[in-house]
Assembly symmetry: C2
Homo-oligomer: 333 residues x 2
């Protein structure tokens, strides 16, 4: 059902039957390790390229979600996935392995929620019984493509973020038990003129604010409706900006319930500058950790707002600023 | 409604209120010129980069579709778009200009139909009143990224195809007059081991065949149900392979009604090797030419099967073969 300009309600409340997360060794040392189903102690995952390692993480998360739900992949009508790689090769090559009818998406780090919002639409409309969503990133593939290969040892400023090595997958169904997707708000592009790829949090914060404001305006509810409102990967710099801007524009967001996946995935002792980032950041934290907290009864209502920076290395070289976006999905137990 | 494993029906029949196409000078010399709303005589479109020219083509097609429908962009709830560029910058930067809530997709040259299939799902589910879809490509941006910059003058084999410089846009609505979207079939990845980026038609043909077979199996209809079945950009090489394979597997496809956008967009006097390709190929031919033929009463039922090659320059360098896909959308007048 329409609900304002950017939002809509899923009347049938599609169910997240199961979800899973896979990650690398560094993420396995973080505070959310117990919610990561598969932790690898080798960032190569035994592959001969980082790209193949990233693809494998996504395949593993997808297989694990299917296994947890006890659903055969031949019964799943759709796999929706996105990542940061040029031509989203991690998703498309994983889709080749998985063999499920496939829709590729690109929302950069907002892919986890873009995928859920599209999947929920198909399930809600009774078009498909089961839909699998996925998102992945790998620190070494992302750094090499967007900045410098890690082997160069380039110095980073404190505003920079650490791309998460991992993947998450969610299995949605028309029926069954589990957290339910109740609504979504699709974001607009917000570009405040920031062009520094080492300061994504500040670039993305206004997009998160725009979508959060739209969600409450469209839905006619107050922020205290949710037990937790979590952004994707703003990190410490972007989180502070977003909170200030929300307060400034009169959104009464309870500070204790406003979190950021990029600030949750690594511990204070882990050197990650302003926090985590990458498609896998919100995928691992929301699909892995937070959905588990919902299943355990610790959270009943969550608004997940995944943020994405939609530039490319080429657009950066051509002196363009960074267009950013955020998509919000409401999940209730 | 579910309809077999890969297909579904849109009960409410979302309407294509208007559609538009923009293209470059070479496409303007082709046989479909009269169905291209905006033909430019400068491949740069007055911009200082080919990337900006491609973005402008997409913006123009989108604006023209809105203008034809007489709909204000502020009333459109969603813009869904894809292209071939790394991180689909043409779509995301056009979305920044257009300002409509945005979902980025990546299906390479299958993007035109992936976008329609997602848009129709949202419109059918009464989530959004108006959705705009778009797809674009530019010969000079694609050649530079996937093969060699045109300025190098690299020789091409006869199996290669000519990336279309253009863009198309469609405006879908819950109500109104125009061609209606009745069903869609989502493709699986098919990879026959071809790794030659100069022979996309042969690589993509098996994916087109797989989706066409799935469509008729799922829907329980015969190929003569449609007045025209058109693939995206198989070109002469891929079209022949697809037709042979379909006959081989018993799909009784009337040869005269089986066409390919890549063989329609350029004239016989235009040197394009095996035919046209790129996201704009099916976007310009289907969104532009064929929807006009439907509006004129020349075609009543069409199955548009857009094909995509989902490799990247990096996956090619890493000796991977090309994973291909095709999505089919049924449109009826």
């Amino acid at each position: 059902m329409f609900k304002g300009h950017q939002s809509f309600i899923f009347e049938s409340k599609p169910v997240i039957l199961a979800s899973a997360a896979a990650a690398g060794p560094f993420e396995g040392q973080g505070p959310l390790a117990k919610d990561i189903d598969l932790i690898h102690d080798d960032i190569w995952l035994g592959q001969n390229s980082f790209e193949k390692a990233e693809k494998l993480l996504l395949e593993e998360a997808a297989e694990k979600a299917l296994e947890k739900a006890g659903i055969n992949k031949y019964d799943v009508g759709m796999f929706i996935s996105g990542d940061l790689m040029n031509q989203i090769i991690s998703s498309s090559f994983a889709a080749r392995t998985i063999g499920i009818p496939y829709l590729g998406i690109f929302g950069a780090c907002s892919s986890s929620m873009e995928g859920l919002a599209i999947a929920a639409s198909y399930v809600d409309g009774q078009k498909v019984k089961y839909v699998l969503t996925g998102a992945s990133s790998h620190n070494s593939t992302a750094e090499k493509q967007f900045r410098y290969p890690n082997e160069y040892g380039a110095q980073k400023p404190p505003t920079s973020q650490w791309t998460v090595t991992g993947a998450g997958a969610c299995l949605l169904s028309t029926h069954g038990k589990g957290p339910k997707i109740t609504a979504a708000t699709i974001g607009r592009i917000v570009d405040m003129g920031i062009s520094d790829p080492f300061n994504m949090g500040a670039a993305m914060a206004p997009a998160a604010v725009d979508t959060i404001e739209a969600h409450f305006r469209d839905m006619g509810i107050e922020p205290d409706y949710y037990d937790i409102i979590v952004t994707g990967d703003l990190g410490a710099v972007g989180h502070k900006i977003a909170l200030d801007k929300l307060i400034e524009s009169g959104v009464r967001l309870p500070e204790k319930s406003f979190g950021d996946c990029g600030m949750m995935i690594y511990g204070k002792d882990q050197q990650v500058f302003a926090g985590g980032s990458g498609c896998a950041c919100s995928a691992v934290v929301v699909y892995g950790h937070l959905l588990n907290r919902m299943r355990n009864g610790e959270i009943r209502k969550m608004l997940a707002v995944a943020t994405g920076a939609l530039h490319s290395p080429l657009s950066y070289q051509q002196k363009e600023s960074i267009p950013c976006i955020a998509h919000a999905v409401a999940i209730e137990m």
